[in-house]
Amino acid sequence: MDLGFWPLAIAIGLPFVAAAGMPRLYPLVGERIGYLGAAVAAVSFGLLGTQIGTEGSVSRPWIPSLDVAVRLHADGLALLFALLASGIGILIFAYATSYMHGKPDLGRFYMALLAFMGSVLGVALAADLLLLFLFWELTSVCSFVLIGYHTEDAESQYSARMAMVITVGGGLCLLVGILFVAIAAETAGIGAFDLAAILERNDAVRVALEETGLFTPALVLLVIAAAAKSAQVPLYFWLPRAMVAPTPVSAFLHSATMVKVGVYALGRVRPLFHGTEWTSLVATLGIATMAVGALLAVLARDIKELLAYSTASHLGLMVAAFGFRSRYGAEAGVFHLLNHALFKAALFLVAGVIAHEAGTRHIDELGGLRHDLPVTAVITALATLSMAGIPPFSGFYSKEILFEATWETAQTGGGVAWLYPAAAVFASVFTVLYSLRFLWLFFGDRPDGLGSIHRAPGALVVPPAVLAGALLLVSVRPSAVIDLIVNDAARATAVGVVDIHAGIPRHVSGPVVMSVITVSAGFACFPFYTEIRGILEGVSTATARVHPTTVYRSTLGTVDRTSRLVRSRVQNGLIRTYVWWLLLSACALTAAGYASTAVGIPAPAMAETPVAVVLVLSVAVVAAIAVASAESHVTGVLTLGILGFMIAIFYILGSGADLALTQLVVETLLLLIFLLVLEEIPEFYGELKRGRALRDAALSVVVGTTAFVSVLLAAPERGADPTPTAVFYVTNAVPEGGGANVVNVILTDFRAFDTLGESIVVIIAALSVLVLLTMRDRGETQ
């Protein structure tokens, strides 16, 4: 069957349409609206299911000028991820309808959940870098809204904001990384944002990336983005905090789908970036996360927290797998993507059942639940054993392939590369430990404090049971699933040929030994769980200062302190400071302009200056100094008057009679107005500090010098011809303008538009007086 645009577009679009309708529908339908969500997910799932086995891209234009289009691409990997999201979506909506019974704001809740599902499907199927980014960011936004479901709860708010900051911050890195790739793609002659084409011709793009020196920057940025989204070290800390969201959200977003978006993206770009740098960055990051996550999961006291850290650890496993270059890397990553989604979603739903029925999520308060929740116990057994990687459960197969990948890398790399298998085994031992601990909630002894536990309603048990059924299928008949989709999916991300084998190993080999060590050490250590946890707690307390959460908190603290500093130091409310910076910057920039163009400063023609001008200007300078140092307002105003009148005389000496008249009028009015308002002004402003006065004096000298130099530079040479404009005005004033005074004709005719503007300024000034008087003390309301 050919790949169609509409099945994919509808699969992505329908959840959004349904989401948009939610606020209107919810009041009509009520809580059962959750089943509508399940139906939407089922439609998407069905549509995607029809596309299994197809491969290719389809597109519709969006922004042709930028070569951005709604490009969708289906292949094994995309479909596997999309089917997981929609398939688990069906179960989550069904589960949520029962779980969220009686909770407030369900319209908004389902709206965000549906939009979220659409976004994940979009990420899975997008074959345009900008489209991918769009859906990527939307998953972050939906996650923010859903983590903050309890809007009044301070902890929810804190966690939602943390998730937003980390994932959107990571998104910024993704954006820049995408732009780097786009630049390289353009260089290689490929449509900038066409991901499918870029991957198809990944060699050319890679060469372009390396030639432009953008390979490493792009790689690092994309890895940071994926690490933020997929909770890798050290950006994992938002994930456990995201557990304040209702359990269906945790199961859907924060275990099965959204957090895998980063892993998925790494899988997608793997063929473009694979190589030594890729392995040393991605595989190391993944293995480190795998170990840290597992250790933290052992430390956890809350079942959802345990599962959250475990999720981080398993995401690390997938990231690590994608980090290894061999075919095993691709196989392990993809296969574990499927297995983890199944067992972790099931376990979260189980955690929801426990919290719902037992009323607590505290690990130490729970135990022996198998008597009360027998079906759930079976589901849990399947899921935890798969999570622990115990043969013959599904998780074992994918983990075994990862071991093969690490082993192979170590053999070819040698030396430090042996740390990969060592660390993988180390992390896996702890995985076995915490998996058993979770299982022990059902099979251990029942603590005394635990109250009576209700039998879980069917609606809460069926969804995890379906997942457990799927797990059983993968465990018993792995080849069926592999042939159906997993092999295709691995091929999409692999560099070479893939051929997944899943089964119980029959020969002793390095990876098999690794598995044997893992399982036996895990079981051997389990009796000492409390002691191990004690040791880890000690380590955790000792390293508290470098915990990412602590770093995050203290960084936010620093930001807040800087913010207050901006308020108190920069925006200090003093006009003096403000004007100081304005003048200083102006002078500095002007001086820089003169210096960089090497203008020679012409000497003022002192000899040619008439004595009268020198005299008048000297008086003006003296008056200016007197204004600045005047003791009282009256003296200040009067000396200011002297300054003004000297300038008027200067105009007269320069034969600017009309200017002089204007100046005289202005000065007289100013003097009068000042004298009138002086009464209202306080006599005394306070002490002027000596240092400040000196600083201001220095600045005024700088300003004066700059202005003086500017005038010298701009003044036309003596005897220079008048400009064409001046000649035009003089020639045309009488015949065309009809006025003998050129200045008048300029003001009223040649440049009358200026005069119009200035008249409006005068009108506004008049209005401003009226406004100030009318609104005096009126405030914003009467």
Binding site: L179, Q571, S596, D754
Partner: protein
């Protein structure tokens, strides 16, 4: 005369100001005239946009006032860049008038609010359209005077204090600008910008002082745009002015500063025939010196605005600081454009600045109007006194969310494309610099990092604004108030514009791209004015 349409928006705003002044005895009539005028203004701008950009034979048009041909009279020039700015202004202006009628107390509206509003709009319009340097100064004065009244409008001590700060800084700025214009006129012998560009490009004329003299004008533009270290007036002025006017400040008057920088430096000074040599920078255009200045100013703005916004208690204060930071995002790509070695990078830098400016005008309007709705309902904008609005009015919460997400730059909203283009310019600069020396790579990397930091700070303060007002426990102030449904409906349509600009980005891109090309096409500009070809 095809050029007549270029003056249409100016005439509409002028008539609007006068008519509303005359109609002030009849408040209803005044409001109707005011809204009608704003719509007429938008219509005239739309006509201009069609003629200049979207018509098959679209080209810049000029109107020679009084029939005095350039360079002797004053010329209005409507090219793609000018009409882009006008279009942005028109959208914000229509919403601002409608919102004013609903939001400002009826008694206060009667205190010359509407005439002043249209005169402010007139100043902005004149500044965008004029092709004459001194005339630009005149429209700056009109804008300054009108904004001054609005900052002090409410007349309490804090408003007066803000107005004094505003007016002192701007009067100093005006003096500097006048000094600069005088110097430029004396050096080049012309005030007509197209003519000036030609004079500057001529070989053999000593125009070296222009580089220094233009700094005076630059400082005034930066002051208008509220860029650090000239941002001091912004927070208090924004908190004092009536909220619909703040939208005009954000959407229009600040953008006048940005427009003037682009117009003067890229169109007029860009082709100047002058050698600039300073430590680390050498080149044959005043732009070489402008580049580090713009980048520094931009980086400072991003930091001061971004950090400043994070802990502000009032929403309007928070958004005021935010707009300082966001203007940094406009100026940094301009700096990249000024430093650009290639024409294409120069154009993408300007394009980024324009797209971001458009997004900022629309998004910030949504957010400031939202702040207005909140104040109207609760009587406060303090986050410490707010909370739980989302439960009271999910519709309002939806609008506010669109504004906040656009501010953060979430696709497919308008803000995303702003962010995309700014980062694109920075990424391209980085890509071009990787083959260069360490200093170039380092500075390109530093700019990318500052942009990233600025964007993360935006997430921090936007989420804080959201959680402090829409989420959280319902406070007494919120419980007592009612959210005005009409205001929310009007606001929702503006939020739709923010979405539509993003989803239907193709024509917006076409428009902004034409504007960016017009900004660096000095030849087309001088030709339109009619001084081209010698």
């Amino acid at each position: 005369m095809t050029g007549t349409i270029a003056i249409a928006p100016v005439v509409v705003a002028l008539v609007a100001g006068t008519t509303t002044l005359l109609a002030r005895r009849w408040p209803r009539l005044q409001q109707t005239v005011s809204i009608g005028s704003a719509l007429a203004y938008a219509y005239s701008v739309a006509l201009l946009v069609r003629t200049v950009v979207f018509a098959p034979d679209g080209a810049a048009i000029a109107y020679q006032l009084g029939g005095w041909h350039a360079p002797f009279g004053i010329t209005l020039v409507a090219d793609a860049l000018a009409v882009f700015m006008l279009a942005m202004t028109a959208i914000v202006a229509v919403y601002a008038v409608i919102f004013s009628v609903r939001f400002i107390e009826a008694a206060n509206q009667r205190v010359y609010y509407h005439p002043l509003f249209h005169f402010l709009l007139l100043g902005v319009t004149g500044a965008f359209l004029t092709g004459d340097l001194f005339n630009l100064f005149v429209w700056f004065e009109v804008m300054l005077m009108a904004s001054y009244v609005f900052v002090s409008f409410y007349g309490n001590s804090e408003h007066t204090a803000a107005a004094v700060r505003y007016v002192v800084l701007n009067v100093v700025g005006s003096a500097l600008m006048l000094l600069g214009i005088g110097g430029l006129y004396a050096t080049t012998g012309t005030l007509n910008m197209a003519d000036m560009a030609q004079q500057l490009a001529q070989p053999g004329v000593d125009i070296r002082p222009v580089v220094g003299l233009s700094a005076f004008v630059f400082v005034t533009f930066a002051l208008k745009a509220g860029l650090a270290p000239f941002q001091f007036w912004v927070p208090s002025a924004y908190r004092s002015a009536p909220i619909p006017i703040v939208a005009i400040f954000v959407g229009a008057t600040k953008k006048v500063g940005i427009y003037a920088i682009i117009r003067l430096y890229f169109t007029v000074f860009g082709t100047a025939n002058v050698t600039v040599a300073a430590p680390g920078i050498t080149g044959r255009s005043p732009l070489v010196l402008l580049a580090p200045v713009l980048l520094t100013v931009g980086v400072l703005s991003v930091l001061v605005g971004g950090f400043g916004a994070v802990t502000r208690d009032s929403l309007d204060g928070l958004f005021a600081y935010s707009s300082i930071g966001q203007l940094g995002f406009v100026v940094i790509p301009l700096g990249i454009a000024a430093a650009a070695p290639s024409e294409s990078l120069r154009q993408s830098g300007i394009l980024a600045a324009l797209v971001f400016a458009l997004h900022h005008a629309l998004t910030k309007s949504v957010l400031f109007f939202s702040t207005g709705v909140i104040r109207d309902a609760t009587g406060t904008t303090r986050l410490s006194e707010l909370g739980g609005i989302g439960k009271r009015s999910p519709a309002f919460a939806g609008v506010f969310l669109v504004g906040g997400l656009s501010l953060i730059g979430i696709p497919p909203l308008a803000g995303f494309f702003g962010k995309l283009f700014v980062f694109n310019a920075a990424a391209r600069q980085f890509a071009a610099a990787t083959s260069g020396d360490i200093a170039a790579t380092g500075s390109a990397l530093a700019i990318l990092l500052v942009l990233l930091l600025g964007a993360v700070l935006t997430v921090l303060y936007s989420t804080r604004a959201w959680m402090g007002s829409v989420w959280g426990h319902e406070t007494e102030a919120v419980a007592m108030g009612t959210i005005d449904r009409v205001e929310v409906t009007v606001l929702a349509t503006l939020a739709v514009v923010v979405v539509v600009v993003g989803v239907g980005f193709e024509p917006v891109y076409h428009f902004a791209d034409a504007a960016a090309r017009a900004a660096i096409d000095t030849e087309a500009y001088t030709e339109a004015v009619g001084v081209g070809g010698g």
